[in-house]
Amino acid sequence: MKMVHKIILGNVLVILFIAMGYAFSSQKFDLLQNKLNFVEVADSLNATLLMMRLSEKNYFLYKDASDLPLIRTDLAKSVTALNDEKKDMIRAIGEANFNALESSLNGYEQEIAKLEEAGVYTEEMQASLREAGRELREQSASMVRLEREQANNLITDSRKALLYFFSFILLIALTSTYFFFSKMFRSLRRIEKAANSISRGNFKKIKGKISKDEMGSVMAAINSMCEELGTRHEQLIQSRKLASMGVLTAGVAHELGNPLNNISMVAQNFIELYPHLPEAERLEYMNTVLQECERIRIIVQNLLDFSKPKTADFSMADINGLIRHACKLVQNMLDVSCIECRLTLGENLPLLLMDRNKIEEVLINLFTNAMHAMTCGGFVSITTSLDEKGDYVIIEVADNGSGISEEYLPQIFDPFFSTKGTEGTGLGLSISYSIIKNHNGKIDVKSREGGGTIFVISLPVSKEREGTDERLPNHGDR
């Protein structure tokens, strides 16, 4: 279910619950209003009966016959009230009580009729009327009391019911809000993690179940973006290589220029000095030409090897050999900038499971960076060693160049981050980071502005024997 639908459903339910609460309260208030109206009527009946009994008392006290019509009037009022409110009264006090009240009223009327008829009254008649009056009055008072009690009970019960009802609604609302938001925050955290991973140049898809709501759509979009970025990243690696070619061109021009010049000079001398050259020297000249041709062939071959797109190819290899080879590739570039390359390679290092081409690319990237940070007379120092536990081979590439400002350090492995302005593509270190990560290794940097830079690479020592490739690092996900 989509989140927007969940929100609408939640709101509809809340409105429904509030409406139910309103209907319930409204019904209870109606009931209460009826009861209060009835109490009013019952009070009025009670007052009439009280007035009637007052006249009755006066009649017996002062023996004044004019009190009898007053009793009659109140009696008639009471009978009318009883008949008018019969239905409500039966509901309020029950049929039996009503009948008892009605019969008491009738009994009282009969006593009054007897009194009117007789004109005079006996002690017995007085006692009988007084008794009927008291009974009537008690029943009426009890009716009012009963109704008041019921009204009170109704208020107490309604208050309790409303408390339970709203507590229940609050509980439901809180629980559903908690589940709704915790699910949303879980999804947001997964998205945040993916975004962070992408920013570090790691284009892994979001794993696990993807919900069908809006968060799921965002995750699906991120996943397809990762796929697209992965493809683009590969293309960028290739273009980065071409860019490196540009950097290498200066070195290559120098490198090719020398053997070419040598061949040219030998040939010119050969022609010019031919008659003066002894046979042995002529042969030596031609051998020199062949040697210089071979030198050119090797340079061109190295260049081709470097620019060729390479598929992942993991095998057990000697890191020191690889470093020596990488140094040879950049030697001329370093010579042109008059930068020295110092190697301090650890002895008896274990062979490492690695993609030779990729690791070589990382080394060349680091050498190129070091070279850019230095002026003539600088040095690049490469040290290899085994860590204390023997789990990692540590490769340190240090230079005494301009260093990196502290504020830039956290960003240097970010794609497209460059301190070299238009000269750099900002991809070299980001690609190096990805490559080392795919080897399950680590790459760190220590630097101080003006105080040189040290890159420290740790590559894990493979537990497998040479020649097996069962535990290939996860390199196929980019």
Binding site: A250, A253, H254, L256, G257, N258, L260, N261, N262, I263, S264, M265, V266, Q268, N269, E272, L273, H276, T288, E292, D335, V336, C338, C376
Partner: protein, 124 residues
Amino acid sequence: MSAYRIMVIDDENIVGKMIKATFEQDGYIVESFLNPVPALERMKEEKFDLVITDLKMKDMDGMEVLQKIKSETPEIKVIMITAFARLDAAVEAFRRNANDFFAKPIKITDLKASVRRLLGEEES
């Protein structure tokens, strides 16, 4: 013809060897060095008329060699050669009073013509 002394400084062994072979045929005295440091030492012992030096070398930059020669013995002619031909390098060399500048591959006849011109023996 008086024997002019020429010094060649280039870390490419063959350059010195070839210049020496062809210039000695023409009657020059040629000494070649792979490294600028001993070359400059030698210059203190012997007077040279012309120096042909590479621009990029391991121990000392060709520009530095040029500057040293021109500041101490400005009468010595200096020809710069480089495999790393860049306009700014040539401009910089001339700004520091280099007498000529050649990009590799060098045409020996042009180099000879330049040497003759600089040593004032064009008519010979």
